[in-house]
Symmetry: C2
Subunit: 341 residues, 2 copies
DNA sequence: TTGAAAGCGCTAACAT
DNA sequence: ATGTTAGCGCTTTCAA
């Protein structure tokens, strides 16, 4: 493997000059530069980033730390979208992406900062972590620049990217209200997720705004799981036949809810309007097609990377980025059937 | 950041001893080792893998080279499954995964071996490449150990992992034949993919085996695209009403084909049986649920990584791994309606 | 404009 | 069982 030493020898200059020429420094004679470039090409030279990183003390590498990659996550494609987005930005800005996937078990073996320091990543993006995750404390305590996805923690070295979940939830609920629904229930995700808390907040606010009471027995925990949502919806629909509309904190749960309604012989949307959150791929392929609040998960990843690299290169204004949502009305919601009229 | 030098100073030994102790060499006194371990812990030491890699001339890093990550690939989740599988194996075997996503444009800027050599990856997994891709030549010429996914090239340093596509296709066609179909058409992927060639081969073989003629006008190119398959199916169905069953080389194309049949007022499976290939997530959520030939894409990635690391660590027997498929009969195929009876 | 020399953190002969 | 020394490939003072 060719090194700058080899080039120096062939070109008849010192390694310093080669280094300077190759890195585009101005203080090198145009003629020698040409010569060096040519020799480098002839010798099929590739720089050794390991050596460079070692001496410069930065690796131009971003770690993407993903928690629980092997689980149900595949159904919503969330992780992959984030990864794609992050990867796009990272390669645009001439960094590399190394992937660390962790599990709760793994976190006991090796701490977050060990992970990052060993591989000498310049910074990290953290996705899929629950708010009670052991890594989270470390992230904050460590001095490694880090951007969290969907966890609102900010400090000198940590920022975050998330969607405006309160507003998103409000769009969903307002949509149902505009369709004439008054008895609107909610299937939420587990409460170790920040987004659950926010989506619930949006739900409650919207109802209060209209003077509708917030009925706690209409709010169930679907844990972001299709199956759990199925079961919970079954319970809900049996005990509360007055409910005509359902807001689910994720599309996957909405899909489960629709299955439950069907199992009870109900028609969606005629007997029950269902709206989800995310706009995953399945939503537009299911029957009926799912109405939902779309969030741009690719952008979540892209902006996370962008923010992080800004932080690394000290182009920093803010450490926070909030993305918008978009109401997508498809087939699973319709006007309330007004029996009283 | 703590280095072994710091540890040496505090522990009152030489850096060599520290290195040896930390790496579990036997020729170090148990007492000094204990001491060193303790100091390392106290100082919150993390080894610098950059430095280690530089001197050992291997990085314990695998490059995953993905082509065209931003495209339609999201719908079938193929890339993500491969990535998950590879990542699982790689972290089990104590390597790290760095992701390179390339496009045809990017390949002009930086060659495959440049990419690998710069980052000093020990080996590479290549996914999503077409058989006329410029990288492919480089992969073969380069001496960097490499495993290809779905491209059957083998040499001293390159191996491959793929599914038994001929047999898979035969399972699909045989399934249709067993249901009594005689006029079985095929929507294939583009022919820059090895898998297309193999699936076509399986299709033709199965027909010939039964003494059915292979009708070239029943074989169309859907380019692995849902939309293209939609269009092609429209053409096929209009021109060849005698066709009662359709084998698609991917589920996504099968979904497009079903849409086309519906658009022509046909019922699937009553008027047309459709079977796909892959068993993507959408297949079990669509209406009707798609019959298909399932391949284990996660395993494709996992085995690729496994094979590569075997090659790196010279535990090599073979450089090839062929995975099996599984027929999954769901709702989109049924018995042929025998008008003649 | 160029070169000599030091050093990034680590491993690995080769002594002792 | 431990230490001395050299060197991996590169960047960066400092001098010339």
């Amino acid at each position: 493997m060719t090194t700058i030493k080899d080039i120096a020898k062939v070109a008849g200059v010192s390694i310093t000059t080669v280094s300077r020429a190759l890195n585009g420094y101005s203080d090198v004679n145009e003629k020698t530069r040409k010569k060096i470039m040519q020799v480098a090409k002839d010798l099929n030279y590739s720089p050794n980033t390991l050596a460079r990183s070692l001496v410069m003390n930065k690796s131009k590498t971003i770690g993407l730390i993903v928690s629980g990659m092997t689980e149900a996550n595949k159904k919503d494609n969330f992780t992959f979208e984030v990864l794609s987005g992050a990867n796009d930005c990272i390669s645009e800005r001439d960094y590399d992406l190394v992937l660390f996937s962790t599990t709760t078990a793994k976190q006991r073996e090796k701490t977050y900062s060990q992970l990052c320091r060993e591989r000498r990543v310049d910074g990290a993006i953290v996705q899929g972590m629950k708010i009670d995750d052991p890594y989270l404390k470390e992230v904050i305590e460590s001095d490694i620049p880090c951007v969290l996805i969907d966890i609102p923690i900010e400090s000198d070295t940590v920022g975050y990217v998330t969607t405006d979940n309160v507003l998103g939830a409000r769009k969903a609920v307002r949509h149902l209200i505009e369709l004439g629904h008054k008895n609107i229930a909610m299937i939420n995700g587990h409460n170790q997720a920040y987004v659950s808390i926010k989506r619930l907040e949006g739900y409650e606010k919207s109802l209060q705004e209209e003077g509708f009471p917030v009925n706690q027995s209409w709010i169930l925990d679907g844990s972001f799981s299709e199956e759990k949502a199925y079961e919970q919806t079954l319970v809900l629909l049996r005990n509360h036949p007055e409910v005509t509309a359902l807001f689910c904190a994720s599309d996957l749960m909405a899909l489960g809810a629709i299955k439950a309604a069907k199992a009870l012989g109900m028609d969606v949307p005629r007997n029950l309007s269902v709206i989800g959150f995310d706009d995953i791929l399945l939503s537009s392929y299911s029957t009926p097609q799912l109405s939902t609040v779309g969030q741009n998960i690719f952008q979540l990843g892209y902006q996370a990377a962008n923010l992080l690299i800004d932080m690394l290169e000290v182009k920093t204004k803010s450490h926070v980025c909030i993305l918008d949502t978009e109401l997508i009305a498809r087939e699973s919601t319709c006007k309330a059937q007004n029996d009283q009229d």
